[in-house]
């Protein structure tokens, strides 16, 4: 801590480089500045997507037309899904916190390919821009859902091409980030940091990197095939040309199932950082957590078929996919148990990030358990494409990845900005948010069990009561989120100055000043001990 005030090096925020003003950001190859670029663009897209979600819920508050037409509703859930999946939760933690912290946590000065890193941000923004362009050009917005199922995606008059191409470009951005992280982790760990001395967040980024690298090309080529089929009428998936629509689903989910682990693994990594810090205790079962990350990444590659249980796959395929789906739950179970065991005999400091971690554990379990119910063949036949599925993935995507994202934001906020935030407001926001969240998505479980199909603009009267509750939950959540975001923004101005290690964390990022200097480390540290050493 002694270095804090007499550093010669300016922080990355004050650094004066070649360029001025906004150019010093959008042309910067500093991993920390790129992370901030990602953070702000991502929050903007998240706000867009979340507003669409809220509007959809308002439409669903009563049967029949409430505030929008069916066409608008269909376009909304499509855009909502595309933005939330491809532009928010897939890049989410890796692109923002991974970019900022990965090099620091492994004791490096930057990622392996800084310029490639900046390029991937440009791809990211370009991809989302294309998706947004598709809304306002051509004959109406795309209306296929984020899954672009064939053959509907060839029949619709919606403006598919920019949206599909946008998703393709976003995939490219994701690949470049993954590639960069893999090389960085392989080549740039500080001297003495062996694989098993690496903190868990970089470990999950490593596992994620492989999934990004090896799964994303599959959707890339699939989206290219859709484009070719729509423009050149090459027969791939359209049954009128001899194609098989199920093959499209196979290819789509070959990527999109592993993609859900791209979303959750870094989230699990962030939770694995938060819990030991606030328990002031080394993590329980480090090696098992590492192994389970790799197991999730690996097994997760082979269970895509559980999205197609009612599509008429062969019995053998159903058997295999369902069995493997249950097996992939085991590594997640191991993680949950180890996290809870870490709290045992800890010295728990109840700060906002820790509350988020507790919230994460709770909603992640609900999401995971609803996942198990969907993984079972007999039950999925009834629940597939109902609001039960919608509930499952909001619990686990928003509840899992989203909670971890907000947890990480509150955990690393002092490091990134150099300011402390107001804890009281942060906790208030969290409580409102949590209450809204459970009402909103909890109710959907029962709607789904009753048989309310998803992507329904209008619904039967029997579902009305449940939808009222659910929609009210969305409004409550809206206020909670507003409190949280406003508090964080206000703290940028009013917050107290953050010390270099406000929480008593032991990983490398807490050894350097807040905010970090441009080069991260004056001197590259030499690692001799494990990452969570509280002795």
């Amino acid at each position: 801590m002694s270095r804090e005030n007499n550093t010669v090096e300016p922080s990355y925020l004050d650094y004066k480089g070649k360029y001025k003003g906004i150019f010093s950001w959008i042309l910067s190859t500093d991993h920390k500045r790129i992370a901030i670029l990602y953070l702000f663009s991502l929050l903007a897209f998240f706000a867009t997507g979340a507003t669409l979600g809220l509007l959809m819920k308002l439409e669903l508050i009563a049967p029949g037309k409430t505030i929008m037409t069916a066409q608008t509703y269909n376009a909304f859930f499509t855009l909502h899904g595309i933005i939330m999946i491809f532009a928010v939760v897939i890049p989410g933690l890796p692109a923002v916190f991974g970019n900022f912290l990965l090099p620091i946590m492994i004791g490096a000065k930057d990622v392996a390919f800084p310029r490639l890193n900046l390029l991937s941000w440009y791809f990211y923004v370009a991809g989302v821009t294309l998706v947004l362009i598709s809304q306002f050009t051509g004959q109406g917005p795309p209306d296929t859902g984020w899954t672009f199922y064939a053959p509907y995606s060839f029949r619709t008059t919606g403006n598919m091409l920019p949206a599909v191409f946008g998703a393709f470009v976003l995939g490219f951005s994701s690949i470049l980030t993954g590639l960069n992280f893999l090389v960085t982790i392989h080549r740039m760990r500080a001297p003495g940091m062996t694989w098993l001395k690496m903190p868990l967040f970089p470990w999950t980024l490593y596992a994620t990197g492989w999934v990004q690298l090896l799964a994303t090309p599959i959707i890339g080529i699939t989206l290219l095939m859709i484009i070719a089929e729509r423009t050149l009428h090459i027969g791939f998936f359209d049954p009128t040309l001899g194609g098989d629509p199920l093959l499209y689903q196979h290819l789509f989910w070959t990527y999109s199932h592993p993609a859900v682990y791209i979303m959750i693994l870094p989230a699990m990594g962030a939770i694995s950082e938060i819990i030991p810090t606030f328990c002031h205790k080394t993590i329980f079962g480090y090696k098992f957590i590492v192994a389970s990350s790799i197991a999730i990444a690996f097994v997760g590659y082979f269970i895509w078929g559980h999205h197609m249980f009612t599509s008429g796959m062969s019995g053998t395929a159903l058997y295999t996919f369902s069995l493997l789906t249950f097996l992939v739950a085991i590594p997640s179970a191991i993680k949950v148990f180890n996290w809870i065991a870490t709290m045992y005999k800890g010295s728990i400091d109840l700060q906002t990030p820790f509350y988020w971690a507790l919230g994460f554990l709770f909603v992640f379990m609900i999401g995971g358990f609803t996942g198990l119910i969907l993984g079972s063949l007999a039950t999925d036949i009834h629940l597939h494409n109902t609001h039960f599925v919608v509930s499952h993935f909001h619990f686990i995507v928003f509840g899992g990845t989203g909670f971890a994202f907000f947890g990480a934001m509150h955990y690393w906020y002092p490091k990134i900005t150099g300011k402390m935030y107001d804890t009281r407001w942060a906790n208030t926001g969290l409580i409102i948010f949590f209450a809204g969240f459970i009402t909103l998505y909890g109710e959907m479980i029962f709607l789904g069990m009753k048989g309310m199909p998803r992507r329904y603009y209008d619904y039967d009267e029997v579902f009305h009561t449940g939808n009222i509750f659910s929609s009210l939950g969305a409004i409550v959540m809206y206020f909670g989120l507003a409190v949280i975001i406003i508090n964080l923004i206000a703290s940028l101005r009013n917050g107290a100055k953050a010390p270099s290690d406000p929480w008593g964390g032991k990983t490398l990022e807490w050894t350097i000043p807040s905010p970090p200097p441009v080069e991260n480390f004056d001197e590259i540290p030499v690692i001799t001990k494990g990452p969570y050493n509280y002795k």
């Binding site: 008059t157 597939h384 329904y456």
Partner: protein, 315 residues
């Protein structure tokens, strides 16, 4: 939809319940147990109560325990799911065959004697095998009360079967997103006693029930059962396809082989529009949305449809 009365509307309800209640039960126990443990730790090992943490690196015996137990639980969950699915693949030999033709945005059920109906009418306690045919995109036939659903894939032979066990009317939904009116693509299963069904089935002469009276009533009934009104309106509102109002005898600009020509709407044109809708595309409307009705509409029907269209002029 989600009956909790304990009476099972189809043969799948009990297998569904077994799997669901086992998985949900174990999950709920774990959720409550783990949450309480977590909260207890947070309370008991709070910094105020426990200022110094005890460092514990791990415990291999524990790790093995909490790996192996979930593995067995998970395998059993899988087993229940598989056991519940298996019967769906094997329809009984004596099952009654019905074909469903799904298209944007209606179902049409066709019986072995040629009878057509927009609702699914089945006899109690008789296994029913439904052959699934889609004319355009993927749809999905979903009967929540029966706990059964199956996608209907264009270009593929598929079936689903079930045994209705309780008299009554139940909802059918389309559960695969299929475009604008997806949420309006629903229908009803009507499970009736064997005798009642036999009577209904024997009224084969009239494929569809005519509700109205007047010259166009038969045509309108056909169009209602075929689902034409999902895309066309009789009152001039533009939906997906052109409205029928004042269509008959009017001049229309159409695209034939990419060239614009003007035609007069006459019986031939109507016939072409219904049987080969993608040969002539009305200007300003998308091609490939309306698919041929050759398999379900006869020339006789078309004549009736024309009678109906005539009634829509100059209102």
């Amino acid at each position: 939809m989600y009956s909790t009365t304990g009476i099972e509307a189809s043969n799948y309800v009990s297998t569904y319940n077994t799997a669901f209640y086992f998985i949900a039960g174990v999950s709920l126990l774990l959720l409550i147990g783990l949450t309480i443990t977590m909260l207890y730790f947070v309370f008991r090992y709070n910094r105020k109560k426990n200022p110094v943490a005890t460092q514990i690196e791990g415990n291999t015996a524990l790790e093995i325990t909490w790996t192996v137990i979930p593995v067995f639980l998970a395998l059993f969950m899988f087993h229940l799911g598989w056991a519940g699915w298996k019967p769906t693949a094997k329809p009984p030999k004596d099952a009654m065959n019905i074909t469903v033709v799904a298209r944007m945005w209606s179902f049409l059920f066709i019986y072995e004697n040629g009878k057509q109906s927009p609702d699914l009418i089945v006899p109690l306690n008789t296994p029913v095998k439904i052959n699934l045919v889609s004319m355009d995109v993927i749809h999905s036939l979903f009967i929540p009360d029966f706990r059964i659903k199956s996608d209907i894939i264009p270009g593929r032979q598929k079936f689903m079967w079930f045994l209705p066990q309780l008299e009554g009317k139940y909802k059918i939904f389309c559960a695969e997103y299929c475009g604008l009116q997806h949420s309006y693509m629903h229908s009803t299963v009507d499970v009736m006693t064997q005798e009642k069904f036999k009577k209904w089935y024997a009224e084969a002469a009239k494929p569809v029930a005519i509700t109205g009276t007047g010259p166009g009533a038969a045509g309108e009934a056909i169009m209602r059962s075929q689902g034409c009104f999902a895309c066309h309106t009789p009152d001039g509102t533009k939906l997906i396809g052109p409205s029928y109002l004042n269509l008959w005898g009017s001049q229309q600009v159409i695209l034939r082989d990419g060239k614009e020509i003007t035609i007069t709407v006459d019986p031939d044109y109507i016939k072409r529009s219904v049987l080969e809708p993608n040969a002539d595309i009305t200007k300003g409307f998308p091609a490939n949305l309306m698919q041929s009705y050759r398999s379900t509409i006869t020339d006789d029907d078309i004549a009736k449809i024309i009678e109906y269209l005539k009634t829509l002029n100059d209102k």
